[in-house]
């Protein structure tokens, strides 16, 4: 009984140790990621705001959405760059200044949404379906079909 107990606690210790390492790696990775990729969600030089967007991969398609409040519907553009990057842009109904949000220590006036989204799996872009409703853009891209493997 005693030895069994001791063995389990050793395993527990290893388990705990591994978990600590895992957490440490995760934390460092996040810090590194933040260092390189965290940036303001706006760009005063290009006068653009980066919208919130999302990519959902289902067995049949990839659904990309973007939240575009104040976007002019007829200016919403969706472009595929290469095979795996989707570029979304739209003009805004009115100019937005950082001052509108009470921010006076940065200057910036924005007139457009712009973002690029990575598509994680191969898609057939020519068959895409695009809709824009209540200021939310939805792009549905069917996934590329492979060939069937016959079961013998």
């Amino acid at each position: 009984m005693a030895s069994k107990k001791r063995r389990r606690s050793l395993l527990d210790l290893i388990d705990e140790y591994m978990r600590t390492i895992e957490e440490e790696i995760e934390e460092r990775f996040e810090a590194l990621h933040n260092l390189f990729f965290e940036r303001p969600s706006w760009n005063a030089r290009t006068r653009t705001i980066e919208p919130l967007c999302n990519v959902l991969v289902t067995p049949d398609e990839v659904v990309v959405t973007a939240d575009l409040p104040y976007a002019k519907e007829d200016t919403v553009k969706v472009k595929l760059l290469g095979d795996d990057v989707l570029e979304i842009s739209a003009e805004m109904k009115r100019k937005i200044c950082l001052e509108d949000f009470g921010i006076t220590h940065h200057e910036g006036e924005f007139s457009e949404f712009h973002c690029r989204v990575n598509i994680p799996v191969p898609v057939s872009a020519e068959a895409k379906r695009v809709s824009f409703k209540n200021g939310i853009l939805e792009v549905r891209l069917p996934r590329k079909r492979g060939y069937e493997i016959k079961i013998e």
Binding site: S41, L52, T65, D67, P69, Y70, F101, K133
Partner: protein
């Protein structure tokens, strides 16, 4: 005591800031903790802590202006609930969202209620009185499933401390700020408490709110992923 904490669609935070301006609530307390990033929020040139409690003689409202880090959420929520208990809050009402994968097709989000005891569930279903009061119209009850995030903890601690709690969760976008869902949650609150809450301003300012809320929404989504929020779509095994 109401809660407006960052969760899917920022429903609670949007609803809470609307309550603060609509009822002219004043800051009555703030959370002082080492568990948040070293950060203050400036409003009208003066510093504030990111998690604060607003109130008047009738109600208290806890609201957070930052995504609460997943690894400090237990202790922060536990303190908020305990604080509310000390102040003798009669009922705790977290306002939030429930992620609806087909939210884009929903024209009027439904609101679901979750209660901390069987008596409260019966009350909300219109089957029984609670403290001499009856609801006019029954609420949709979230019967089975998982809840993940700050409100799961509010309900757990309220249940443990024997404090009545009713959470209103409105169908919302998972990772886009959802002012319409916030308006629906407030409507449910006004129905339950018999108070008038005008949500017209909130709906009018919808686009502005969505634009302003982008950054906190993005950070909230990251924290929710750490809490394994998508488990809310799972089907529980209990036979």
């Amino acid at each position: 005591m109401l809660y407006g904490l960052p969760d899917v669609g920022l429903v609670g935070v949007i609803a809470a800031s609307h309550m603060v301006s609509e009822f002219n609530l004043e800051e009555v307390a703030f959370v002082d903790t080492d568990m948040l990033p070293p950060m203050i929020v400036l409003h009208k040139g003066t510093p504030h802590t990111p998690i604060r409690i607003f109130g008047n003689n009738e109600l208290l409202l806890a609201v957070s202006e930052i995504a609460i880090p997943a690894d400090s959420i237990h202790r922060i929520i536990r303190s908020l609930v305990k604080w509310g208990k000390e102040k003798e809050a009669r009922i705790m009402i977290p306002l939030g969202g429930i992620p609806a994968p087909n939210r884009q097709e929903i024209t009027e989000p439904k609101v679901f209620a979750v209660a901390s005891s069987p008596q409260l569930v019966e009350w909300l279903e219109g089957k029984a009185e609670w403290k001499g009061r009856r609801v006019d119209e029954p609420f949709n009850i979230l019967q089975e499933g998982y809840m993940v995030g700050p409100y799961a903890l509010v309900l757990q601690y309220c249940m443990q401390e024997n404090i009545p709690a009713v959470a209103f969760l409105s169908q919302a976008f998972y990772n886009y700020p959802d002012p319409q869902a916030a308006a629906m949650a407030l409507k449910a609150l006004s129905k339950l408490m018999g108070i008038q809450i005008d949500v017209s301003q909130l709906l009018e300012k919808g686009e502005e709110i969505r634009l302003k809320a982008r950054d906190i929404m993005k950070r909230t989504t990251k924290e929710l992923a750490k809490m394994r929020k998508t488990q809310e779509y799972d089907i529980p095994l209990y036979v």
